[in-house]
Subunit: 214 residues, 2 copies
Amino acid sequence: MKVELQRVAPADIEARSMEIIQSELGERSFPAEVLPVVKRVIHTTADFDYADHLVFSEGAVQRGVEAIRQGCTIVTDTQMARSGINKRVLERFGGEVLCFMSDVDVANEAKERGVTRATVSMERAARLKGPLILALGNAPTALVRACELMEAGELRPALVIGVPVGFVNVVESKELLLTEQVPYIVARGRKGGSNVAACICNAMLYLASGNARE
Amino acid sequence: MKVELQRVAPADIEARSMEIIQSELGERSFPAEVLPVVKRVIHTTADFDYADHLVFSEGAVQRGVEAIRQGCTIVTDTQMARSGINKRVLERFGGEVLCFMSDVDVANEAKERGVTRATVSMERAARLKGPLILALGNAPTALVRACELMEAGELRPALVIGVPVGFVNVVESKELLLTEQVPYIVARGRKGGSNVAACICNAMLYLASGNARE
Protein backbone atom coordinates (compact mmCIF):
# COMPACT_ATOMS: atom_id res chain seq x y z
CA MET A 1 0.00 0.00 0.00
CA LYS A 2 1.58 3.25 -1.15
CA VAL A 3 -0.60 5.53 0.94
CA GLU A 4 -1.02 5.64 4.72
CA LEU A 5 -4.61 4.98 5.77
CA GLN A 6 -6.23 5.84 9.09
CA ARG A 7 -7.34 2.78 11.03
CA VAL A 8 -11.02 3.32 11.74
CA ALA A 9 -13.49 0.45 12.20
CA PRO A 10 -16.40 0.48 9.70
CA ALA A 11 -18.93 1.22 12.44
CA ASP A 12 -16.92 4.21 13.63
CA ILE A 13 -16.32 5.98 10.29
CA GLU A 14 -19.40 8.16 10.45
CA ALA A 15 -18.90 9.17 14.09
CA ARG A 16 -15.27 10.09 13.33
CA SER A 17 -16.43 12.12 10.29
CA MET A 18 -18.95 14.01 12.39
CA GLU A 19 -16.21 14.82 14.95
CA ILE A 20 -14.04 16.26 12.19
CA ILE A 21 -16.95 18.33 10.86
CA GLN A 22 -17.79 19.62 14.35
CA SER A 23 -14.15 20.50 14.91
CA GLU A 24 -13.84 22.37 11.59
CA LEU A 25 -17.06 24.28 12.23
CA GLY A 26 -15.03 25.71 15.12
CA GLU A 27 -16.67 28.49 17.08
CA ARG A 28 -19.69 28.71 14.81
CA SER A 29 -22.86 28.02 16.69
CA PHE A 30 -26.15 26.74 15.35
CA PRO A 31 -29.47 26.21 17.10
CA ALA A 32 -29.54 22.69 18.55
CA GLU A 33 -32.46 21.79 16.27
CA VAL A 34 -30.67 22.54 13.01
CA LEU A 35 -27.15 21.37 13.88
CA PRO A 36 -27.72 17.68 12.98
CA VAL A 37 -29.07 18.75 9.57
CA VAL A 38 -26.18 21.14 8.88
CA LYS A 39 -23.64 18.50 9.87
CA ARG A 40 -25.25 15.78 7.77
CA VAL A 41 -25.31 18.01 4.68
CA ILE A 42 -21.61 18.72 5.14
CA HIS A 43 -21.00 15.00 5.73
CA THR A 44 -22.72 14.25 2.41
CA THR A 45 -21.00 16.97 0.37
CA ALA A 46 -17.72 17.74 2.20
CA ASP A 47 -18.71 21.32 1.42
CA PHE A 48 -18.66 23.76 4.35
CA ASP A 49 -20.38 26.41 2.21
CA TYR A 50 -23.61 24.83 3.39
CA ALA A 51 -22.90 26.12 6.90
CA ASP A 52 -23.53 29.59 5.43
CA HIS A 53 -26.20 28.79 2.85
CA LEU A 54 -28.67 26.62 4.71
CA VAL A 55 -31.68 28.61 5.94
CA PHE A 56 -34.37 27.21 8.21
CA SER A 57 -37.75 28.70 8.96
CA GLU A 58 -38.57 28.77 12.67
CA GLY A 59 -39.17 25.20 13.89
CA ALA A 60 -38.75 23.68 10.42
CA VAL A 61 -36.78 20.64 11.55
CA GLN A 62 -39.29 19.90 14.30
CA ARG A 63 -42.14 20.13 11.76
CA GLY A 64 -40.33 17.66 9.52
CA VAL A 65 -39.71 15.28 12.42
CA GLU A 66 -43.36 15.48 13.48
CA ALA A 67 -44.53 14.78 9.92
CA ILE A 68 -42.26 11.73 9.76
CA ARG A 69 -43.64 10.46 13.07
CA GLN A 70 -47.15 10.88 11.66
CA GLY A 71 -46.24 8.61 8.71
CA CYS A 72 -45.92 11.33 6.09
CA THR A 73 -45.35 10.93 2.38
CA ILE A 74 -42.09 12.37 1.07
CA VAL A 75 -42.25 13.46 -2.58
CA THR A 76 -38.95 13.93 -4.41
CA ASP A 77 -38.20 15.45 -7.81
CA THR A 78 -35.65 12.79 -8.80
CA GLN A 79 -35.44 9.03 -8.53
CA MET A 80 -31.94 9.61 -7.18
CA ALA A 81 -33.21 11.54 -4.15
CA ARG A 82 -35.85 8.86 -3.62
CA SER A 83 -33.15 6.23 -3.75
CA GLY A 84 -31.02 8.03 -1.17
CA ILE A 85 -33.71 8.35 1.51
CA ASN A 86 -33.61 5.75 4.28
CA LYS A 87 -36.87 3.97 3.53
CA ARG A 88 -36.37 1.38 6.24
CA VAL A 89 -36.69 4.06 8.92
CA LEU A 90 -39.46 5.93 7.12
CA GLU A 91 -41.54 2.77 6.71
CA ARG A 92 -41.24 2.06 10.41
CA PHE A 93 -43.34 5.21 10.92
CA GLY A 94 -45.76 4.14 8.18
CA GLY A 95 -44.45 6.66 5.63
CA GLU A 96 -43.30 6.26 2.06
CA VAL A 97 -41.32 8.12 -0.61
CA LEU A 98 -42.87 8.85 -3.98
CA CYS A 99 -41.38 10.29 -7.15
CA PHE A 100 -43.62 10.94 -10.13
CA MET A 101 -40.85 11.93 -12.54
CA SER A 102 -40.69 8.61 -14.42
CA ASP A 103 -44.47 8.16 -14.71
CA VAL A 104 -45.53 7.88 -18.33
CA ASP A 105 -48.68 9.96 -17.82
CA VAL A 106 -46.62 12.73 -16.19
CA ALA A 107 -44.22 12.76 -19.16
CA ASN A 108 -47.09 12.84 -21.64
CA GLU A 109 -48.94 15.63 -19.87
CA ALA A 110 -45.74 17.69 -19.56
CA LYS A 111 -45.06 17.34 -23.28
CA GLU A 112 -48.61 18.31 -24.25
CA ARG A 113 -48.57 21.39 -22.01
CA GLY A 114 -44.98 22.43 -22.81
CA VAL A 115 -43.98 22.34 -19.15
CA THR A 116 -41.45 20.21 -17.27
CA ARG A 117 -42.27 16.83 -15.77
CA ALA A 118 -41.28 18.39 -12.45
CA THR A 119 -44.13 20.92 -12.79
CA VAL A 120 -46.67 18.17 -13.37
CA SER A 121 -45.15 16.12 -10.52
CA MET A 122 -45.98 18.87 -8.04
CA GLU A 123 -49.60 18.86 -9.22
CA ARG A 124 -49.67 15.12 -8.53
CA ALA A 125 -48.19 15.76 -5.07
CA ALA A 126 -50.94 18.30 -4.36
CA ARG A 127 -53.57 15.54 -4.74
CA LEU A 128 -52.08 13.36 -2.00
CA LYS A 129 -53.79 12.96 1.36
CA GLY A 130 -52.05 13.21 4.72
CA PRO A 131 -48.90 14.98 5.88
CA LEU A 132 -46.44 15.70 3.10
CA ILE A 133 -42.77 16.67 2.85
CA LEU A 134 -41.51 17.95 -0.49
CA ALA A 135 -37.81 17.15 -0.97
CA LEU A 136 -36.72 19.06 -4.08
CA GLY A 137 -33.04 18.81 -4.95
CA ASN A 138 -33.08 19.21 -8.68
CA ALA A 139 -35.79 21.08 -10.52
CA PRO A 140 -36.47 24.77 -9.89
CA THR A 141 -39.63 24.32 -11.96
CA ALA A 142 -40.89 21.90 -9.29
CA LEU A 143 -40.21 24.43 -6.57
CA VAL A 144 -41.83 27.30 -8.51
CA ARG A 145 -44.97 25.22 -9.21
CA ALA A 146 -45.11 24.14 -5.56
CA CYS A 147 -45.03 27.82 -4.53
CA GLU A 148 -47.82 28.65 -6.99
CA LEU A 149 -49.97 25.80 -5.67
CA MET A 150 -49.34 26.88 -2.07
CA GLU A 151 -50.29 30.48 -2.91
CA ALA A 152 -53.49 29.16 -4.50
CA GLY A 153 -54.24 27.15 -1.36
CA GLU A 154 -54.05 23.88 -3.28
CA LEU A 155 -50.97 22.46 -1.59
CA ARG A 156 -50.20 22.48 2.14
CA PRO A 157 -46.99 20.57 2.85
CA ALA A 158 -45.74 20.11 6.40
CA LEU A 159 -42.29 21.07 5.14
CA VAL A 160 -40.61 22.05 1.87
CA ILE A 161 -36.95 21.14 1.44
CA GLY A 162 -35.90 23.54 -1.33
CA VAL A 163 -32.40 22.63 -2.46
CA PRO A 164 -32.40 22.53 -6.29
CA VAL A 165 -28.98 22.88 -7.89
CA GLY A 166 -28.00 24.75 -11.02
CA PHE A 167 -27.91 27.86 -13.08
CA VAL A 168 -31.33 28.69 -14.57
CA ASN A 169 -33.96 29.97 -12.11
CA VAL A 170 -32.44 27.98 -9.27
CA VAL A 171 -31.50 30.93 -7.08
CA GLU A 172 -34.81 32.62 -7.94
CA SER A 173 -36.93 29.56 -7.09
CA LYS A 174 -35.32 29.33 -3.66
CA GLU A 175 -35.78 33.05 -2.96
CA LEU A 176 -39.42 32.59 -3.90
CA LEU A 177 -39.81 29.79 -1.35
CA LEU A 178 -38.37 32.06 1.34
CA THR A 179 -41.35 34.38 0.81
CA GLU A 180 -43.93 31.63 1.40
CA GLN A 181 -45.81 30.96 4.62
CA VAL A 182 -44.66 27.37 4.92
CA PRO A 183 -42.00 25.59 6.98
CA TYR A 184 -38.90 25.39 4.82
CA ILE A 185 -35.28 24.31 4.70
CA VAL A 186 -33.44 26.06 1.84
CA ALA A 187 -29.88 25.99 0.51
CA ARG A 188 -29.57 29.55 -0.81
CA GLY A 189 -27.58 30.11 -3.97
CA ARG A 190 -26.84 27.71 -6.79
CA LYS A 191 -25.78 24.69 -4.78
CA GLY A 192 -27.91 21.77 -3.70
CA GLY A 193 -28.77 18.46 -5.26
CA SER A 194 -30.57 15.16 -4.94
CA ASN A 195 -27.95 14.00 -2.46
CA VAL A 196 -28.56 17.09 -0.31
CA ALA A 197 -32.36 16.67 -0.44
CA ALA A 198 -32.03 13.02 0.56
CA CYS A 199 -29.59 13.62 3.41
CA ILE A 200 -31.76 16.37 4.92
CA CYS A 201 -34.61 13.84 5.00
CA ASN A 202 -32.30 11.26 6.55
CA ALA A 203 -31.11 13.69 9.24
CA MET A 204 -34.75 14.19 10.25
CA LEU A 205 -35.49 10.45 10.04
CA TYR A 206 -32.65 9.77 12.50
CA LEU A 207 -33.94 12.53 14.78
CA ALA A 208 -37.45 11.06 14.58
CA SER A 209 -36.23 7.60 15.51
CA GLY A 210 -34.00 8.88 18.30
CA ASN A 211 -30.78 7.59 16.74
CA ALA A 212 -27.89 9.65 15.44
CA ARG A 213 -27.60 7.15 12.62
CA GLU A 214 -29.15 3.86 11.52
CA MET B 1 -45.13 35.87 -8.30
CA LYS B 2 -42.80 37.81 -6.03
CA VAL B 3 -39.59 36.84 -7.84
CA GLU B 4 -38.59 37.50 -11.45
CA LEU B 5 -37.94 34.26 -13.35
CA GLN B 6 -36.00 33.82 -16.58
CA ARG B 7 -38.16 32.58 -19.44
CA VAL B 8 -36.42 29.46 -20.70
CA ALA B 9 -38.29 26.58 -22.39
CA PRO B 10 -37.91 23.22 -20.60
CA ALA B 11 -35.91 21.74 -23.49
CA ASP B 12 -33.46 24.66 -23.43
CA ILE B 13 -32.67 24.75 -19.69
CA GLU B 14 -29.68 22.42 -19.88
CA ALA B 15 -28.15 24.09 -22.94
CA ARG B 16 -28.52 27.49 -21.24
CA SER B 17 -26.90 26.10 -18.08
CA MET B 18 -23.96 24.76 -20.06
CA GLU B 19 -23.51 28.17 -21.72
CA ILE B 20 -23.34 29.82 -18.30
CA ILE B 21 -20.81 27.23 -17.07
CA GLN B 22 -18.68 27.68 -20.18
CA SER B 23 -18.81 31.43 -19.75
CA GLU B 24 -17.82 31.31 -16.07
CA LEU B 25 -14.96 28.93 -16.80
CA GLY B 26 -13.64 31.91 -18.77
CA GLU B 27 -10.15 31.56 -20.18
CA ARG B 28 -9.53 28.19 -18.57
CA SER B 29 -8.85 25.57 -21.17
CA PHE B 30 -9.35 21.84 -20.90
CA PRO B 31 -8.52 19.05 -23.35
CA ALA B 32 -11.50 18.54 -25.68
CA GLU B 33 -11.94 15.00 -24.36
CA VAL B 34 -12.41 15.99 -20.72
CA LEU B 35 -14.37 19.23 -21.15
CA PRO B 36 -17.83 17.57 -21.39
CA VAL B 37 -17.11 15.67 -18.17
CA VAL B 38 -15.87 18.75 -16.29
CA LYS B 39 -18.89 20.76 -17.43
CA ARG B 40 -21.38 18.04 -16.50
CA VAL B 41 -19.89 17.70 -13.01
CA ILE B 42 -20.22 21.47 -12.50
CA HIS B 43 -23.76 21.29 -13.92
CA THR B 44 -24.62 18.63 -11.33
CA THR B 45 -22.99 20.34 -8.34
CA ALA B 46 -22.88 24.07 -9.22
CA ASP B 47 -19.40 23.80 -7.73
CA PHE B 48 -16.57 25.21 -9.82
CA ASP B 49 -14.00 23.67 -7.44
CA TYR B 50 -14.28 20.58 -9.64
CA ALA B 51 -12.57 22.47 -12.47
CA ASP B 52 -9.46 22.33 -10.28
CA HIS B 53 -9.93 18.97 -8.58
CA LEU B 54 -10.84 16.61 -11.42
CA VAL B 55 -7.85 14.62 -12.64
CA PHE B 56 -7.91 12.37 -15.70
CA SER B 57 -5.36 9.76 -16.69
CA GLU B 58 -4.32 10.01 -20.35
CA GLY B 59 -7.23 8.91 -22.57
CA ALA B 60 -9.45 8.01 -19.61
CA VAL B 61 -12.65 9.44 -21.07
CA GLN B 62 -12.08 7.65 -24.37
CA ARG B 63 -11.51 4.39 -22.48
CA GLY B 64 -14.80 4.87 -20.68
CA VAL B 65 -16.64 5.66 -23.91
CA GLU B 66 -15.17 2.57 -25.58
CA ALA B 67 -16.17 0.35 -22.65
CA ILE B 68 -19.71 1.71 -22.85
CA ARG B 69 -19.85 1.00 -26.58
CA GLN B 70 -18.71 -2.55 -25.83
CA GLY B 71 -21.67 -3.04 -23.48
CA CYS B 72 -19.75 -2.77 -20.23
CA THR B 73 -21.05 -3.31 -16.73
CA ILE B 74 -20.92 -0.28 -14.45
CA VAL B 75 -20.60 -1.13 -10.75
CA THR B 76 -21.49 1.58 -8.24
CA ASP B 77 -20.98 1.74 -4.48
CA THR B 78 -24.41 3.22 -3.74
CA GLN B 79 -27.94 2.61 -4.96
CA MET B 80 -28.15 6.37 -5.39
CA ALA B 81 -25.38 6.44 -7.99
CA ARG B 82 -26.99 3.47 -9.70
CA SER B 83 -30.28 5.35 -9.75
CA GLY B 84 -28.70 8.45 -11.29
CA ILE B 85 -27.06 6.72 -14.26
CA ASN B 86 -28.97 6.91 -17.54
CA LYS B 87 -29.83 3.25 -17.95
CA ARG B 88 -31.85 3.83 -21.11
CA VAL B 89 -28.72 4.88 -22.99
CA LEU B 90 -26.52 2.25 -21.33
CA GLU B 91 -28.93 -0.55 -22.20
CA ARG B 92 -28.94 0.53 -25.83
CA PHE B 93 -25.27 -0.53 -25.89
CA GLY B 94 -26.10 -3.77 -24.07
CA GLY B 95 -24.65 -2.61 -20.75
CA GLU B 96 -26.06 -2.60 -17.24
CA VAL B 97 -25.49 -1.02 -13.84
CA LEU B 98 -25.00 -3.18 -10.77
CA CYS B 99 -24.74 -2.28 -7.11
CA PHE B 100 -24.07 -5.02 -4.57
CA MET B 101 -24.43 -2.84 -1.49
CA SER B 102 -27.95 -3.98 -0.55
CA ASP B 103 -27.32 -7.69 -1.17
CA VAL B 104 -28.00 -9.70 1.98
CA ASP B 105 -25.03 -12.01 1.40
CA VAL B 106 -22.72 -9.00 1.02
CA ALA B 107 -24.00 -7.54 4.30
CA ASN B 108 -23.58 -10.88 6.09
CA GLU B 109 -20.07 -11.46 4.80
CA ALA B 110 -19.02 -7.91 5.68
CA LYS B 111 -20.31 -8.33 9.23
CA GLU B 112 -18.54 -11.68 9.69
CA ARG B 113 -15.23 -10.31 8.42
CA GLY B 114 -15.48 -6.92 10.16
CA VAL B 115 -15.12 -5.02 6.89
CA THR B 116 -17.47 -2.67 5.07
CA ARG B 117 -20.08 -3.84 2.58
CA ALA B 118 -18.25 -1.67 0.05
CA THR B 119 -15.13 -3.81 0.49
CA VAL B 120 -17.07 -7.02 -0.21
CA SER B 121 -18.85 -5.32 -3.13
CA MET B 122 -15.54 -4.78 -4.92
CA GLU B 123 -14.71 -8.47 -4.53
CA ARG B 124 -18.04 -9.25 -6.18
CA ALA B 125 -17.20 -6.82 -8.99
CA ALA B 126 -13.87 -8.58 -9.54
CA ARG B 127 -15.74 -11.80 -10.42
CA LEU B 128 -17.67 -10.18 -13.27
CA LYS B 129 -16.87 -10.99 -16.90
CA GLY B 130 -16.47 -8.41 -19.66
CA PRO B 131 -15.51 -4.74 -19.64
CA LEU B 132 -16.12 -3.00 -16.34
CA ILE B 133 -16.36 0.58 -15.12
CA LEU B 134 -16.21 1.18 -11.37
CA ALA B 135 -18.13 4.32 -10.40
CA LEU B 136 -17.30 4.96 -6.74
CA GLY B 137 -18.79 8.11 -5.25
CA ASN B 138 -19.15 7.18 -1.64
CA ALA B 139 -16.97 4.60 0.04
CA PRO B 140 -13.20 5.03 0.31
CA THR B 141 -13.10 1.42 1.50
CA ALA B 142 -14.46 0.36 -1.91
CA LEU B 143 -11.76 2.32 -3.67
CA VAL B 144 -8.99 0.98 -1.41
CA ARG B 145 -10.15 -2.62 -1.90
CA ALA B 146 -10.37 -2.06 -5.68
CA CYS B 147 -6.76 -0.83 -5.65
CA GLU B 148 -5.64 -3.88 -3.68
CA LEU B 149 -7.41 -6.23 -6.10
CA MET B 150 -5.87 -4.43 -9.09
CA GLU B 151 -2.41 -4.69 -7.53
CA ALA B 152 -3.01 -8.41 -7.01
CA GLY B 153 -4.03 -8.76 -10.66
CA GLU B 154 -7.53 -9.87 -9.67
CA LEU B 155 -9.42 -6.86 -11.03
CA ARG B 156 -8.88 -5.17 -14.39
CA PRO B 157 -11.47 -2.44 -14.92
CA ALA B 158 -11.55 -0.43 -18.15
CA LEU B 159 -11.93 2.70 -16.01
CA VAL B 160 -12.17 3.64 -12.33
CA ILE B 161 -14.18 6.71 -11.43
CA GLY B 162 -12.81 7.54 -7.98
CA VAL B 163 -14.92 10.28 -6.45
CA PRO B 164 -15.78 9.25 -2.88
CA VAL B 165 -16.78 12.09 -0.58
CA GLY B 166 -15.94 12.63 3.04
CA PHE B 167 -13.49 12.91 5.85
CA VAL B 168 -12.01 9.53 6.77
CA ASN B 169 -9.53 8.01 4.29
CA VAL B 170 -11.27 9.72 1.37
CA VAL B 171 -8.34 11.88 0.28
CA GLU B 172 -5.96 8.96 0.87
CA SER B 173 -8.02 6.48 -1.17
CA LYS B 174 -8.02 8.83 -4.14
CA GLU B 175 -4.28 9.48 -3.90
CA LEU B 176 -3.82 5.70 -3.87
CA LEU B 177 -5.82 5.34 -7.09
CA LEU B 178 -3.58 7.96 -8.73
CA THR B 179 -0.64 5.58 -8.22
CA GLU B 180 -2.33 2.67 -10.02
CA GLN B 181 -1.75 1.62 -13.62
CA VAL B 182 -5.39 1.92 -14.61
CA PRO B 183 -7.41 4.53 -16.48
CA TYR B 184 -8.96 6.79 -13.87
CA ILE B 185 -11.05 9.89 -13.33
CA VAL B 186 -10.55 11.28 -9.82
CA ALA B 187 -11.91 14.23 -7.86
CA ARG B 188 -8.96 15.01 -5.61
CA GLY B 189 -9.64 16.18 -2.09
CA ARG B 190 -12.65 15.56 0.08
CA LYS B 191 -15.40 16.36 -2.38
CA GLY B 192 -17.27 13.97 -4.63
CA GLY B 193 -20.44 11.94 -4.21
CA SER B 194 -22.92 9.55 -5.73
CA ASN B 195 -24.28 12.38 -7.86
CA VAL B 196 -20.78 13.12 -9.19
CA ALA B 197 -20.08 9.45 -9.93
CA ALA B 198 -23.38 9.15 -11.79
CA CYS B 199 -22.97 12.31 -13.82
CA ILE B 200 -19.47 11.36 -14.96
CA CYS B 201 -20.98 8.11 -16.27
CA ASN B 202 -23.76 10.07 -17.95
CA ALA B 203 -21.30 12.47 -19.61
CA MET B 204 -19.56 9.46 -21.17
CA LEU B 205 -22.87 7.83 -22.10
CA TYR B 206 -23.85 10.95 -24.04
CA LEU B 207 -20.43 11.03 -25.70
CA ALA B 208 -20.81 7.33 -26.61
CA SER B 209 -24.21 7.90 -28.17
CA GLY B 210 -23.13 11.05 -29.99
CA ASN B 211 -25.58 13.32 -28.21
CA ALA B 212 -24.79 16.15 -25.88
CA ARG B 213 -27.79 15.07 -23.83
CA GLU B 214 -30.62 12.59 -24.00
